[in-house]
Amino acid sequence: MSTETAPAPGPKMETRGLTISYGQKVAVKGVSLGLPGREVTALIGPSGCGKSTFLRALNRMNELIPGASFTGEILLDGRDVYGGHLDAVELRRRVGMVFQKSNPFPKSIAENVAYGLRVGGTSDKHEIAERVERSLRDAALWDEVKDRLHESALGLSGGQQQRLCIARALAVEPEVVLMDEPASALDPIATAKIEDLIHELKAKYTIVIVTHNMQQAARVSDQTAFFYMGEIVEVGATEQIFTNPQERRTEDYVTGKFG
């Protein structure tokens, strides 16, 4: 149970000296990064650079991986997410996640979105119906599914399923939405719809997106962090990263000179 507090000054989420290991292997090394509120931060970098591991740390998903450990701090509104004022379930409500491969439950469309609400204790039918509609609207899916809310979610296209997963995450009223390669399995039009959705969502939510598609990072994000071998090489305004990066390695990566 969390109490409402005024938003702390500073970034919505922040890591300080975050080091994450899987057993002996260090995947993320001393990363300090601010994630500004109501902005989109993109994490880019080659495979294995630690960006997904970093993302998962933000809502304590790494805990579910045996052998994973970390040092350093992860802050939400200036408070340590391990600080005891927040349990993991509540954290994951406030900091939601959307995955590369959409994973709708084998239930109806409406039930997918309502599930988190029910599990969270909401039972009033009208409230559930209203929040389901609002979430589906926020995820730009309502018009496509409003006449078939009780049909199976598995009947939706890939792009629609992904937007359903976003609606599901939004239903529990998060503050931060983490996205791990949300469009990599989608065709260009579905991808464009997701990107358009991200643009709309940032008015209300803080978004962190991992993508291996640099042009996507360039299109959707306000701030871009370039990860390489577990460290942040450079972070800055997206426009600057893609027109005039300061670090040679960033320049080489965004221009395709990485061998």
Partner: protein, 236 residues
């Protein structure tokens, strides 16, 4: 690119396209250098045949502008260049326009040669040769700066424009004096003024080139400093 280091694009076809673009730009620059040198020689040596050659060869310079623009557009569409590559392509698009204008200015000078050769020479005009030498040198230096990514050299070009401007004014005033002393010189004096003006404009274009080189290397747009609002400029 630009001799800044050994890293090359993983996609060799892309690397080759960028190299081809750079070579074509330099080739165009070389042709413009030759054109201005020939047009000035056409005046100094009263060689109308040479002037006609300059005019004929301008067609090739114009063709190259179209070709290079096409190469740039292709790379933009197919490669989505970023960072230094993006700055290189957008610089190339601008440089090509300046070079084509410089080619036209060489043609204009050649036209002055044809005109001046219709009548007896006005007498040696040292400043005309001097302004021509300076203008040619400015282009050469700007192109060198482009090849090696030499910001200091580009800044030298920018500083060197004042001298050309001053020389032009001197020629202008000298010609005015001549025309006032002897009205039979009016046609030749005005032709000479125009030639000097074309060379002064040639020098301005070399300065534009240098400004673009600075942008390409540093990501700093240094154009029109006096027109900027007095606040922190974001460097893109």
């Amino acid at each position: 690119m630009l001799g800044r280091g050994m890293s090359v694009h993983t996609d060799k076809a892309y690397e080759a396209e960028l190299r081809a673009l750079r070579e074509r730009l330099l080739e165009m620059g070389g042709r413009v250098e030759q054109a201005i040198a020939a047009s000035v020689r056409a005046i100094a040596e009263r060689d109308s045949a040479l002037a006609e050659q300059v005019k004929a060869k301008d067609r090739e310079i114009n063709r190259m502008e179209v070709e290079i623009d096409g190469m740039c557009r292709r790379i933009l569409a197919l490669r989505q260049p970023a960072a230094s590559d993006l700055r290189f392509i957008t610089t190339a698009l601008k440089i090509v326009t300046d070079l084509e204008r410089m080619g036209d200015l060489a043609v204009n000078v050649a036209d002055r040669a044809l005109d001046l050769n219709q009548a007896p020479p006005l007498g040696p005009i040292h400043e005309l040769s001097k302004i021509a030498d300076l203008a040619e040198a400015q282009l050469k230096k700007a192109l060198d700066a482009f090849v090696t990514g030499d910001v200091e050299k580009a800044e030298e070009v920018m500083r060197g424009d004042d001298l050309i401007d001053a020389l032009y004014l001197k020629i202008f005033n000298d010609m005015l004096v001549r025309m006032m002393e002897d009205s039979k010189t009016i046609r030749r004096a005005t032709s000479t003024m125009f030639a000097a003006k074309h060379l002064e404009r040639f020098g301005d274009h070399a300065t534009n080139l240098a400004e673009m080189v600075i942008y390409m290397v540093r990501g700093q747009d240094v154009r029109h400093p006096k027109s900027r609002v007095r606040e922190e400029e974001p460097d893109l």
